[in-house]
Chain length 335, copies 2
């Protein structure tokens, strides 16, 4: 294991310390152990809170999206592990500004269970909550079992939409409605070229041959659809977008936002070669890309590979996607 | 070689196509072959032009810094290779808005030679130019031979300062003066944990053991000061900052900007663990960090490792560093 760290057991703690030291003007931790990160600026009274939670090892996911017009808070677990229900509850109670809190998180067993418990605790304190699970990874279950799909990079689009809706002072029910509408129009699929190493484990999460890639792998190394020989960038993009477009019924004259997300070790050059292929794919089919997001948005530490996320846009989603947002890890002002 | 691409010979071309397709609102190519990238927005008449050039494989360096209050143009070479003098000249002539052009580039043989020729061509057309070579890599030559040092991530700070000065409508001589002042106060040093692979070569640029790192390596895999056993994050940072602070004579009560730059494959988590170490290092010595920049600013494709850049600040540099800037790859509005 070749990592720049001090002690594998302190990996999360020291990452969080670094983040708070660097961004104390924008972020703060609620507890001594730094496992609840919230905005450090003044949040409007009455604004619906948007919160999430999840394991470490995916930066900028999850806590990197805490900031203006995105998330109000994030509970942080160990690498690839859910934080506790108690931490989630503490976060929810702090992020309630009187009109309730939307918990918007990836569809994983631990996070689901803990948010269920946390929202029960909030309910006993008369804090209004709603829960929405992001299930955007189309490789992880068939469409008729969409509720079984994992949440991957499409979470970022979901937070963007929900965060903008909340900043526009929509009610909790309205924010939840437009977020669900966004999620019906978001699909992701990716390929992994290499494993990553969980610091406390010290060994690769899986093994793969030098000429192979895993199609549809999850961001924790969950098994995908198939292992196949390396393809060209154009072939990979066609394979992913054929599946995404079929699943989402994308057709001529649709408008989409596209996210080309590097999983950690893939150079930006390759992500732009990927974007080129996606652009040409959609151009050929008469689909317009309105907003490209290209970079590392949801990673698996040093995993090589990438995912493509597509969000089908209408006027409502377009306006909320373009709404300015700013966190220490993500700025939407420039698009 | 496991890369997401179509054809190694088309690596640069397709990367550039992807960039232009994604960011055509902000960037455009001057020639059919896309090797000169300039701003696509209206540049103020009379503003001094700031341009650079260099090989591919370092995104966001070089062309990623073309944008508002940063670079006006960038000539792009093949992977790790200088573009031609002719391309540089064409760029210079297009970026002159009547008050001359500052060529601000990394200190590499090919770039030096070609910018010399390009500026001669510009001179014949009565375009006023000045040249400044960035020599921030303190590992690459002793301080009394600073002119032999390579340019690495410190280039980004240099462009930031020069770009802000030009946007404030300083004259060419004033922009050059403040840029040289900045460069006297910028130093960088890094460690490499793994090699990268030039697509057209197909083999790693060097080999290194699983428990070793190369200290002071250049961003093209140029040999560093020594190969040593892996150290902890705190030890690596102490080693690098001891050398940087000695070289730059940084002392108690100084104020600095710090850039923790990932070389390509190093997870953001590890960069924040690195930042934590740097923050504590400076805190202990009574040096204040005013602006942390943490992420991938100057890469070597999929190389693992990182560099630390320090810029010693005074009121002039502070103002220019904080001046808003915006490119498709870099936004300074948020600091």
């Amino acid at each position: 294991m070749k990592k720049i760290l001090n002690n594998p057991d302190a990996f999360c703690r020291e990452t969080l310390e670094g983040i708070i030291l660097a961004h104390s003007d924008k972020l703060k931790a609620l507890d001594e152990d730094l496992r609840i990160i919230v905005r450090n600026d003044k949040v409007k009274e009455g604004k619906v809170g948007i919160v999430t939670a999840g394991g470490s090892g995916h930066l900028p996911v999850f806590l990197g999206y805490v900031g203006q017009s995105m998330l109000d808070g994030c509970a942080v677990g160990n690498v690839f592990a859910s934080p506790s229900a108690k931490k989630m509850y503490h976060m929810i109670s702090q992020c309630d500004k009187g009109n309730g809190v939307l918990c918007l998180y990836g569809n994983y067993g631990g996070d689901n269970m803990n948010f269920d418990m946390a929202c029960e605790m909030a309910d006993m304190e008369d804090i209004n909550t709603m829960r929405i699970r992001v299930c955007d990874d189309i490789a992880s279950a068939p469409k008729d079992k969409k509720e079984k799909r994992r949440g991957v990079a499409g979470m970022v689009f979901a937070w963007k939409i929900a965060g903008a809706a909340a900043d526009k002072m929509m009610s909790l029910e309205e924010v939840a409605k437009v977020t669900n509408h966004a999620l019906e129009n978001i699909g992701t699929m990716g390929v992994a070229l290499s494993p990553c190493i969980v610091p406390q484990v010290g060994k690769p999460t899986f093994s793969i041959q030098d000429d192979e890639m895993e199609v549809g792998m999850g961001i924790h190394g969950e098994v995908g659809i198939e292992v196949c020989k390396m393809l060209t960038a154009d072939e990979i993009v066609k394979m992913l977008l054929d599946k995404i477009c079929e699943d989402m019924e994308i057709k001529r004259d649709d408008e989409v936002a596209v996210m080309i997300n590097g999983l950690g070790a893939t150079p930006l050059e390759e992500l732009y070669i990927t974007y080129r292929a996606a652009h040409k794919y959609f151009e050929k089919r008469g689909v317009a890309i309105l907003t490209p997001y290209i970079g590392e948005f949801a990673t698996s530490m040093e995993m090589a590979g990438m995912s493509v996320t597509v969000m089908k846009l209408d006027s409502v989603l377009k306006e909320l996607l373009e709404y300015p947002a700013s966190t220490p890890f993500f700025i939407n002002a420039n698009r």
